[in-house]
């Protein structure tokens, strides 16, 4: 029985289904042993929980209790310090400063996912990949081979076992 059907049986037990759906599930419970077993188990569990639930009594009426909680939440929200707004010139220049800083960082590196060559002549390498993919670059100087291993981002979390 799939999860959707199990949820329907639970909803039937809780009287949360519409009349047509309730009739459908009732028929299923009558005709399907698996559905009937799920229904009986859920019903027993519910009765056990209800029968053994610890009673908790509030000192004050329920409405008053919840209104106190609501007032505490509202006062906490009002008491949260408002961030002082920065001067206009800071707000205007901040994005530009950020862009300059980013450009400086990008210029200082040799491109994304670069593995520096160990040969005596330096070379610029860049890798661009499909956003759903991740790459690892590896160079074997002894073999004169550069490997770019491509994997989907899901499997990229697993350790690399493909290399000796």
């Amino acid at each position: 029985m799939n999860n959707a059907t199990q949820l329907k049986v639970m909803s039937y037990l809780d009287n949360e289904l519409s009349a047509p759906d309730a009739r459908q599930v009732a028929a299923l419970i009558t005709n399907d042993p698996e559905a009937r077993a799920v229904y009986n188990e859920l019903k027993e569990t519910r009765e056990l929980v209800r029968g053994n639930e610890l009673s908790l009594t509030l000192k004050e009426p329920k409405d008053f209790y919840w209104s106190q909680i609501q007032r505490k939440i509202e006062s906490a929200e009002k008491a949260a310090p408002r961030r002082a707004s920065a001067p206009l010139w800071v707000r205007l220049l901040a994005p530009i400063a950020g862009a300059i800083a980013l450009a400086a960082v990008l210029l200082s590196i040799q491109g994304p996912q670069i593995q520096p060559l160990t040969t005596h002549v330096s070379a610029m390498h860049e890798i661009e990949n499909n956003p759903e993919m991740a790459t690892i670059t590896f160079r074997s100087e002894s073999e004169g081979v550069t490997v770019v291993w491509v994997s989907s981002r899901e499997t990229a979390q697993e350790p690399a076992e493909q290399f000796e």
């Binding site: 070379a123 074997s140 004169g144 550069t146 490997v147 491509v150 994997s151 076992e161 493909q162």
Partner: protein
């Protein structure tokens, strides 16, 4: 004095004309294509299984196979297809290595060699390098049943 002044003017005008004509002449020349570089694009399949029957798979060149066995973990490597090609500066080649695998290679003066891989028509990865390719470049990834695919761009002398 007037004669000297006139001579100086004539000489400087002549020099200016010579300077201007130099680059103009250079621009009218046909740009050099640069040396031709020869490569092979090879699609290789790596697996621990034996060579499947009925499939047109060749043995990988022994030199390349040695390198693969030193770097990768699979027992067997089979050549699915091999396409030789040559490149001049500014040229591109699109090579179909299999129904699902295409590779585009471009040589540009400023950005060097660019290799783009497409799998099932979708862009997978692009590698640029500003030097001529002296290494063997391998683009690789996992395939089904714990095997792997390898696209090899190998410079040929």
């Amino acid at each position: 004095m007037q004669l000297v002044h006139r001579l100086a003017l004539i000489l400087s005008a002549t020099a200016a004309l010579l300077c201007l004509s130099g680059p103009v002449q250079a621009e009218t020349n046909q740009p050099s294509k640069g040396p031709e570089q020869k490569f092979s694009a090879i699609l290789i399949w790596g697996t621990d299984s034996a060579k499947p029957e009925g499939k047109d798979l060749k043995d990988v060149d022994s030199t390349l196979k040695d390198k693969f066995q030193k770097i990768f973990k699979w027992k067997n490597y089979f050549e699915v297809s091999k396409k030789p090609f040559s490149l001049h500066q500014g040229e591109s080649h699109m090579l179909k290595l299999s129904p699902k695998c295409d590779v585009k290679v471009h040589q540009s003066e400023k950005e060097g060699l660019e290799v783009e891989l497409y799998g099932e028509g979708k862009f997978v990865v692009k590698r640029k390098q500003t030097m001529p390719l002296s290494d063997i470049l391998i683009l690789a990834g996992d395939d089904k049943n714990a095997s792997a695919w390898f696209v090899v761009i190998k410079p040929e002398s």
